[in-house]
Symmetry: C2
Subunit: 166 residues, 2 copies
């Protein structure tokens, strides 16, 4: 920031290169790890990452969730969830029924077999993840958590701003 002759704040043309580089590095990290996890899931369990993620959401709740809930939590579109659930019901991992109190609502939950299968996968998945992050010290992890939380907040704010003016 610079003050001109009349002591008024003047913006210099800013350099946004750092943020771009940060974004690209963030994306690279995620892509790299995601690819690794996807590959291992396929190799070991012949399952896709989206299916694993969906099952992970459902494993956290005993009584199931609605499709909308899943859609929000996974940050994917409604139509996407519809298809994903379809295939998981087909394969016997999920159970689906219409809500008693609201006939628009579909409640899905893991079947017994689905839950067992997920737990099996999750146990290994956890080892992969800690292997992938194994070069980071506990302090690094804490610091990354903190900075990513801040990033998330910042991104949400920017998204909110756009959503309002649209």
């Amino acid at each position: 920031m610079i003050l001109d002759s009349e002591t008024k704040a003047v913006e210099l043309p800013e350099d946004h290169g750092d943020e771009i580089r940060l974004w690209l590095r963030l994306l690279t990290c995620t892509t790299l790890i995601e690819g690794e996890v996807r590959g291992r899931l396929r190799e070991r369990f012949d399952v896709t990452l989206p299916r694993f993620d969906l099952m992970a959401q459902l494993d956290k709740v005993p009584d199931g969730m609605t499709l909308s809930d899943v859609s929000k939590r996974m940050m994917v579109s409604n139509g996407n969830v519809t298809g994903l659930v379809e295939r998981l019901v087909e394969s016997g991992h999920l159970d689906r029924r219409t809500s008693d109190t609201d006939r628009r609502v579909q409640v899905i939950r893991l079947t017994k077999a689905g839950r067992a299968e997920f737990r099996r996968m999750a146990a290994e998945h956890q080892l992969w993840i800690s292997d992938i992050f194994s070069d980071l010290s506990p302090k690094d992890v804490r610091e990354l958590m903190r900075l990513l939380a801040k990033t998330k907040g910042s991104a949400r704010k920017a998204a909110q701003k756009r959503a309002l003016q649209a």
Copy 2:
């Protein structure tokens, strides 16, 4: 770490929960930002993120790249690039020709119009990104860069390890 009666190192069952939470937060951040950027690219320029990314790779080099180069840099499959390039050639953004020295190789580059269009998009894109990261101080940015570099290295090492034993 614990030392047993014979003074030999013994591992306790470790808690991998921190790494999982870190991974989920990393993924959330990326998904959030990616969605935001995709939305804006569509709104403002009616272009998809993969096309923008591909053009960004090509903008960096004056003489074009081969499909394999693009595939490696974007960390996506070969077949993916084939289709992406097809559509961008179709729309007049890209120019494609077979290499003189190796007839397997396809060299692609931005057309004049394609480059102009990309520069127009990139200018705004940069502003979006710095808006999205605007809550982070320069120090935060530096620290994130450092930790993500470390993460990238760690992930690559883990991926390497798996690739070797396969």
